[in-house]
Symmetry: C2
């Protein structure tokens, strides 16, 4: 841009020369090290750096040190509040450890996820956080695990959010318990006949929540009819599609819908209104996650509150304490049922 002189950035060399010291001393002064350096020299170096507008080249540092001061983060879709809230926690956590975050989006494709892990590996990040993984049980699982294992063998730490039984550090969201508690609460509110909106089965988040919900109903001798489980996308549009499918089947025998996440629930809410079905008079609805929007829609959405930002921060914390352990760790984070107007007590 502009036809300005394209000089190259000041290097540590320049700083050292300017300050009249050696490269080593300059490096030690600026980045600190175990070695002490004479205070006067140090000041000279700092001054020179400031004067030249020197900023250390992170790539060079990374290559000299063997790994970058970086966290790689994989999300399905950063525009989805579930991931953006989690990402904000990851970024905050990384920042505390003076790590920068590089982010990639899978757009909800397992193939893409594999590609991205490979690509991100190239950055030699200290930590690799995987969220929204959807390879479980697919034929890609082996390749992904191989890739991740190879990465860890080179000194990095993998943290997976909400995907159990993989030999990596895991921040487990207690989807089973959360959904079970929600089912209990809904039954307690007087609901008996349920439908569910869910995503593809390779998404453990989705299938776990469904399972937990079934477990909860089971405690009361209730069941979720397979015909009443609508399997669509894990998105707002998925919720819309599910409503359409459900209305085709009729809702006379349904008094409450469980959508496995809030964005689906909110899409459903909107679609139900458009199609003239009143929530909660004609049918109640509950979601999962407690994204910000959940309390802003009308009726406000009953859901399971998840501290998503904390989940992100915890992922980083877990990774950064990995070297103090000898085996993988799992942190489980639970959610709390939040009853709101979308599921009032039933007469």
């Amino acid at each position: 841009m502009t036809e300005a002189t394209r000089t190259s950035a000041a290097t540590l060399h320049d700083v050292a020369r300017e300050a009249g010291v050696s490269l080593a001393t300059a490096s030690r002064s600026i980045n600190g090290s175990t070695r002490k350096v004479n205070e006067e020299l140090r000041q000279r170096v700092l001054l020179a750096a400031d004067k030249l507008g020197y900023v250390a080249n992170q790539s060079a540092q990374a290559i000299a040190k063997g790994s970058a001061s970086t966290v790689a983060l994989v999300v399905s879709d950063i525009a989805d509040p579930y991931f953006s809230t989690m990402a904000s926690g990851v970024i905050r956590g990384a920042e505390e450890a003076r790590l920068l975050v590089t982010m990639a989006m899978t757009e909800r494709s397992a193939e893409r996820e594999l590609e991205l892990v490979r690509a991100l590996r190239g950055g030699r990040p200290r930590v690799l956080v995987l969220t929204g993984s959807r390879f479980a049980g697919t034929e890609l699982e082996a390749s992904l695990v191989k890739e991740l294992t190879a990465y860890e063998e080179t000194g990095g730490t993998v943290v997976i959010v909400s995907q159990r039984s993989l030999p990596f550090d895991t921040v487990q969201i207690d989807n089973l318990a959360g959904a079970r508690d929600l089912a209990r609460a809904l039954v307690d509110q007087g609901y008996r006949r349920f439908a569910a909106f869910t995503g593809v089965s390779s998404l453990l988040t989705s299938s776990d929540r469904l399972q937990g919900f079934r477990d909860g109903l089971g405690e009361f001798g209730l069941a979720l009819d397979d015909d009443r489980v609508y399997r669509t996308d894990f998105t707002r549009d998925g919720g819309i599609a599910a409503v359409d499918a459900m209305l085709d089947d009729g809702i006379d025998d349904i008094d409450c819908v469980f959508a496995v996440n809030d964005v689906m629930a909110i899409g459903a809410l909107s679609r139900l209104r458009d199609r003239g079905v009143s929530v909660p008079d004609d049918i109640a609805i509950a979601g999962f996650d407690d994204i910000d929007t959940a309390r802003d829609v009308t009726p406000a959405l009953t859901t399971v509150r998840l501290p998503l930002a904390d989940v992100g921060a915890e992922a980083i914390h877990l990774a950064l304490t990995a070297d103090q352990r000898t085996s993988v760790a799992t942190v489980t984070i639970g959610g709390d049922v939040v009853l709101r107007a979308s599921t009032p007590r039933r007469a």
Copy 2:
């Protein structure tokens, strides 16, 4: 994790040795170059790379090439849908150019913004995208501009989103026209007496929208009383605080509120409901941005639709075509008024 053998990652050297060729040939085969390489050798190299699970070290490439294949993105808060939607566009745009995105959050602090730009500069990114900047008119402006200029002199490209009159490429959101159009539309709907919720004045996005709104009202001989401009945070909580302040003043002389962005409007909506004020019966409300949630709240929010993901993608596109120009460029993206139930036609 696990006490596995911590080997170091396969290097190009290893690949070359495995394939029985020189380093140069291996590099040329894998990364392509202007030079041709014998097809058989090339296959050997590719095979070896695959066998060893080789992934090029990006830091090494960056340092050899002089700059990283990276886009640095600064946002105020990734959990805010305004930024997360824009970020998704940036990531998508970057991806098309095979660039990875590293992201940092200012948490809405101008000081932090300056620090982050410095830090990000260290990564020698090809492009530096600044969104949500709030240094305009502050004493930090000069330092920031200096930093950015220095960055561009080393070959990078700065793109600023929605901050005019700075000597860098800019994706301008036409906040003035959008707000003016909104004002016209609201007057056309029958509203006459307005209040506004806005952010701090160093946020141009905020002050421009207010100004545009004023301009629009002016065309009808209407004005926005200074006492009725509530200056709070650019967030959901800001909207809540503004409602409280406004209600203290009374709303008998107000028939419509303009919140300079949707998240404030939605916070306000929620607070108004809590305080027993009916929207739109007692007071109408309009926002700006058209974030996803705007259509999901009740009443659905009148707003100005901005193609935020496109804005992000355009920022990258602009940066990547910078070398074909000799001077800075500005792309202006406009918004369309979307009338919804929060501002019905007034009797």
